[in-house]
Structure formats: C-alpha cells, structure tokens
Amino acid sequence: MTDHNLPSTFRRFATQFPGVVACHENMAKAVDAAGPLDAKTRALIKIGICVGAEMESALRSHVQSARQAGATKPEIEQAILQAMNTCGFHRTVAAWSWAQIQFQRDDHSEAAGPAGASAVRISVKLFGPQAHVANTDEVRLTFEHDPTCAQVLDALGDSCPEISRTLSGSRLAVNQGFATPEAIVRESDEVALIGLVGGG
C-alpha cells in the first residue's frame, strides 16, 4: 500500500504522533523478520486475527496485503471461514462481507490501472465522515468517455457501497467549486466529494 492510499485516520494520527507510528512500524518489521513465515502466510494469519477481533479496517488492509503477496480470493475466503467454529457464524460472515468490499475496491483500482488508452480516469477526493467510512481519502474511477458529475456520483456509489447512502446529500466539487449534475468532468480536473460539512 502506498502512503497515498493509507486510511485517512491513520495518516492524521501519524501527522500528530510521528514517533509513536515509527515505533509501531519498527515493531511490525521486527515481528515480520522473527521467523520463517512468508508474507502471504503472515497476511492470512493477520486476517484471521482480525476476524476474531472484529477489526474491519485492519482486516481490509490485510486482505489487500495478502493479495499483493499472491493470495487468491478463494484462499483469503478460506482463511476467513476458518473462524466459523472458533468465532462463530456472525463474526465470520461479517468479516467475509468486509473482504468482499475490499475485493471490489481493489478490482476497481486494477481496472483503472491498465485500462485502454481511451479510458478516462477520474480521482475523487473524499473528506470527513465519508473518508472515514470508506477508509480512504481518494477513489479512482474509470469511464469510457468524459462523465457528467451525476455519472461520477453513480460510479462512486458502485465503487464504495459504504458511502452510497450518503451520496444523495452530497455534491461534487470540480476544480474547487461546486458543479451541477450535468457538468462534464475531465481527467485533468480536480474532483472532490463534499458531503455534509460542519465548520464553525
């Protein structure tokens, strides 16, 4: 995971407490190097730990790490299902659903990467509660043609089902100004999702 894709909450925490985060990362490196387990196995074990502890954000992060280390979707799903008799049906199914969200997110990002030369790639910045719920502060979307703002919002809902219910009360900002649903978005535009704001 690049720094850019780290959850926004974690990055805010790291900005405020860099020393604590450095110690945390050193500990992670130390335990990774403490034995013979390879990266894929370690990631699958961490997924299992997250199922038991009902840690959605961490589970999704380790699902992403596991796939980067070569784990397939069936392998990850089997790792989660190992919790069935130990942790119970409720926790296992909840964890499986979190993994599906991450699969969908990663598949969408991959699609945005090697798409054809004519594809239009739009990055949408997320802020506030929506960034927290989606566990990211940027979502990359791909379109065949320059989309309208309404189409970008629709695609956001498909890509991030966690925030889909908040989209009806949200607006898109294009190049730092609110845009109408009919406005055309181009790849070079700066696009941001502005949900319920709360200054003051």
């Binding site: 509660p129 719920v133 730092q176 704001v197 003051g200």
Partner: protein
C-alpha cells in the same frame, strides 16, 4: 471601494490565539460605526458526552475560496465595510476558539445581519469538517454537528 482590500481570510493550525495577543488580527476599518466579532468556542460536551476537543479537517484551497466568496457576497448584499475570517484546522481543545468572524459596518443592523448570514452559509457550503475527540478510551468520532 476596493472590496478585496477589505477581506482577510485565514485557516490556521490549532486554536486561534486570543486577539489581545495578536493585535494585528483585530479588524480595523476607517469610518465604521460598528465593529462586530463572533468567536466560536469548542464546547466541553457534545450531546451530553464530554469531549477533549474537536479536530477540524479542511479541503483547504476550496475552503479559502469559498470563505472569500462569502465575504464578497456579504459586503455586496448587506453593504458592510470589511470582513475578517479566521478558522482552525487540526486539533482544538475544548474551551478554545476555533472560528472568529469580524465584521465592520456603518451601522449595527447590517453588520449583525451579515454576521448571522455568513455563519449560516459557511455551515452549509464551506468544506470544513469536525471530528469530535471524545473523552473516553475509545475514540469514536466521525459525526458532524454544529458548534
């Protein structure tokens, strides 16, 4: 009147310092008959739950532009003379100031109306968000509420 010279916008890290310690932040305006100031203070509780403070998040370039545009509109709409807006980003402990709006006007009525209008518009359109830091072991703070 050069409207831009009479508008000052700033988004700064942490709580806003008291005006007596930063006198240059105090709005002054020749010919004004009313100098109005609103200080938004972080309350010690939210929905009856104690908080340590509020962490403010800003989409900063857009927030700066949006605040400036609101100030321009307020000057035109209400005929006020000058506006200064300061808003915090990052953590602001409770009882500290996170938002300060100063309005200079010829008479109090248009100044008070502009001040009230500005705050309502800001809370609706300016991309600023709050994260409450609850005074408990587990942070659980992604609600958006009025200060």
């Amino acid at each position: 009147m050069d409207t831009e010279k009479n508008i000052r916008i700033s988004i700064t890290e942490g709580p806003l310092p008291a005006l007596h310690s930063t006198p240059t932040n105090r709005l002054s305006c020749e010919g004004a008959g009313a100098m109005l100031r609103f200080d938004g203070i972080v309350r010690p509780t939210e929905d009856d739950r104690p908080i340590d403070g509020i962490a403010y998040e800003a989409y900063e370039p857009m927030a700066q532009n949006a605040l400036r545009e609101l100030a321009r509109t307020a000057i035109e709409k209400f005929g006020v003379l000058a506006i200064t807006v300061e808003h915090s980003k990052g953590m602001v402990p409770n009882s500290m100031c996170s938002f300060r709006l100063q309005v200079a006007s010829t008479h109090r009525k248009e100044g008070l109306a502009a001040l009230d209008w500005f705050i309502d518009e800001m809370k609706r359109d300016v991309p600023l968000w709050k994260h409450h830091a609850w005074s408990s072991v587990l942070p659980n703070s992604e609600e958006v509420n009025d200060a």
